[in-house]
């Protein structure tokens, strides 16, 4: 709590490195509203979180189901999927920066073979933004995968066997059994991932540095540049307070929304088991 209060107080001053300390009240916050660069970074952060989490959740879930259904090569596949998550961030930045480079990058070799002109990935605002989403997905899908896969392994088998006996299709089994039973693990994964995504910093810092023209900047990056590069500590502190409050409010709202599901959580598995028991108890294993 102490550092939070410290930052809060700092955000109400115009303190800067080597400057004098003066009380400015809420001026910093009013200034933020008119700061186009900050507003842009703030909106970008939301877009990153939304796009990144949605893509990573579905891809991670898909991969977890796919790997779970494999009969051979499971271990190798899991290792391969988890690889991106183990790379040190600096090297992630370097590798992807060269990947996207229009002169010596592997992607440019691919476009040359396909006879598409060189794509300037990091110079076009929209493409640069897409690149960051791609790298983010590459790096963080393993996180989703690991949580969801462990969640899959702990599900009871009986409901699935019962559904198979009843002749349910894979599609129905997924929507009626797997997905609802995975909701608790999904909530945990999505919440943790969103919180981390709001702090997105390192890959943007290494790959684009926020450019071109602030198109890929995030709120954390903007706060860092303001506070530590320009030395404007008070203003930078105000930025991080705004981001902090946003995440607190959003995750509280999210938790309130999912609370009903949370309370149903222990019931989901049990209800499925009871249903199975009922089906098993009827002669000839239920309807046939």
């Amino acid at each position: 709590m102490v550092p939070l209060i410290f930052t809060l107080v700092l955000s109400l001053t115009n303190y800067s490195i080597g400057g004098r300390l003066g009380w400015v009240g809420f001026d910093n916050y009013l200034r933020l509203l008119n700061d186009l660069f900050f507003v842009k970074s703030y909106v970008n952060t939301f877009l990153y979180v939304f796009l990144g989490v949605v893509i990573q959740y579905w891809v991670g879930l898909g991969l977890a189901l796919l790997v779970n259904s494999l009969t051979t090569g499971k271990r190798l596949m899991r290792l391969l999927i988890l690889l991106p998550f183990m790379m040190p961030p600096l090297i992630v930045g370097f590798v992807w920066k060269t990947m996207f480079d229009s002169r010596y990058g592997p992607l440019s070799a691919l476009t040359r073979v396909l006879h598409v002109g060189p794509i300037l990935w990091l110079n076009d605002p929209a493409l640069a933004f897409t690149s960051i989403v791609i790298v983010d997905t590459w790096q963080w899908t393993p996180f989703m995968f690991l949580i969801l896969f462990a969640g899959l392994r702990i599900l009871p088998k009986e409901p699935f066997e019962a559904a198979r006996v009843d002749g349910a299709s894979d599609w129905r089994i997924f929507w009626d059994l797997t997905f609802p039973m995975l909701i608790p693990a999904s909530i945990g994964a999505i919440l943790l991932r969103s919180i981390e995504a709001f702090k997105l910093f390192d890959i943007v810092f290494y790959i684009t540095g926020g450019g071109p023209g602030g198109a890929t900047s995030t709120a954390t990056l903007q706060g860092y540049f303001t506070a530590l590069r320009s030395g404007n500590l008070g203003y930078g502190a105000a930025m991080s307070i705004v981001l902090f409050l946003t995440v607190v409010v959003l995750s509280s709202v999210a938790l309130l929304l999912v609370r009903s599901v949370h309370f149903r959580k222990p019931m989901l598995g049990r209800r499925a088991l009871e249903r199975t028991a009922r089906i098993a108890a009827t002669p000839a294993g239920g309807k046939l």
Binding site: I91, L146, K157, F244, L255
Partner: protein, 299 residues
């Protein structure tokens, strides 16, 4: 007549299903292959870069050693020679901090999660879900803000730049994650299994040790791996809290890039070294994630 028709119908549906299943199998393998390529190629690129010279890195995409560029072992010689002490120290420190702190984070997290899953708490307006949220909310704080406080605290108790201090810091850093994840897993275990164990004469400790922990094994292993990865790749805590004796590998790598021209061949070579311990951790813990014990345990 009806039975005959039904039988014919059912056999045709099974045949059709098998057919669809066969083709979906191919699709599945194809999808996994595509993702494997996407996930693995940058890693391959890092591995190849470690054998290039600086000019080969900047002259064009060279993919295969011996075919389009001559590999050198210069990076490896440099790492075994002048940079050996730094890399070795970083490696040992990172291994120690990540391994031990993740262990503590998972053990403490498992106890907290068990409590949150099995008992109803009430502290003023706070119920179980609120407590879980409070614990997670610690992760929301921008790390820079939290690290300044840690620095001040560690300074007063002389823990800066010590292994114990770093282990405490990473345990603190990963605990919210493990508590939150494991609460979900603990919740999923039917209480009837524990009651059955109690009837069989197990005490509370034995129930947890022999029944609950083995059943949550996939969750425990996943939580350990995640904590390990986070501690392994952490940059900001190590940057603020270490100076010389307990620097971690990411700091060593960053120091290498801080020189005039980043020597990417060397950094990639250290990157390969840095990726080996997490791979070993996955290989060791994989069997526990795989384990599916909640099968036929309850009737």
């Amino acid at each position: 007549m009806t039975t005959g028709a039904k039988m014919a119908e059912s056999s045709s549906t099974t045949a059709r299903r098998r057919n669809i299943f066969g083709s979906t199998r191919l699709v599945r393998i194809g999808l996994l292959f595509v993702w494997g390529l996407f996930a693995g190629f940058p890693c391959y690129w890092m591995a190849v870069t470690a054998f290039k010279q600086q000019r080969d890195i900047y002259r064009g995409p060279y993919f295969v050693p011996f075919l389009d560029f001559t590999p050198t072992t210069r990076a490896w010689e440099f790492m075994m020679g002048p940079a050996r002490e730094d890399v070795l120290r970083g490696l040992v420190n990172s291994l120690l901090f990540a391994g031990v702190s993740s262990f503590f984070a998972v053990v403490l997290g498992a106890f907290a999660a068990y409590g949150l899953a099995r008992y109803q708490y009430r502290y003023g307006p706070y119920r179980n879900n609120d407590i879980a949220f409070l614990i997670v909310s610690q992760r929301i704080m921008p790390p820079i803000v939290a690290v300044i406080a840690l620095f001040a605290m560690f300074k007063t108790v002389n823990l800066i730049d010590t292994p114990i201090g770093m282990i405490i810091a990473y345990t603190w850093f990963n605990l919210p994650l493990t508590v939150f994840l494991l609460t979900d897993f603990m919740n999923r275990i039917p209480i009837e299994i524990e009651q059955a164990a109690a009837i069989d004469g197990y005490g509370k400790g034995a129930q947890i040790w022999k029944v609950v922990l083995p059943l949550t094994m996939p969750g425990l292993a996943a939580a350990y791996l995640l904590s390990f990865f986070f501690a392994w790749n952490d940059f900001i805590l190590a940057l603020m809290l270490t100076f010389r004796t307990s620097v971690t590998l990411p700091i060593v790598i960053t120091n290498m890039s801080a020189q005039m021209e980043p020597r990417w061949w060397l950094i990639s070579a250290v990157g390969i070294v840095a990726i080996i311990p997490p791979i070993l951790a996955v290989v060791v813990l994989d069997r526990f994630i795989e384990r599916q014990v909640l099968h036929g345990g309850m009737r």
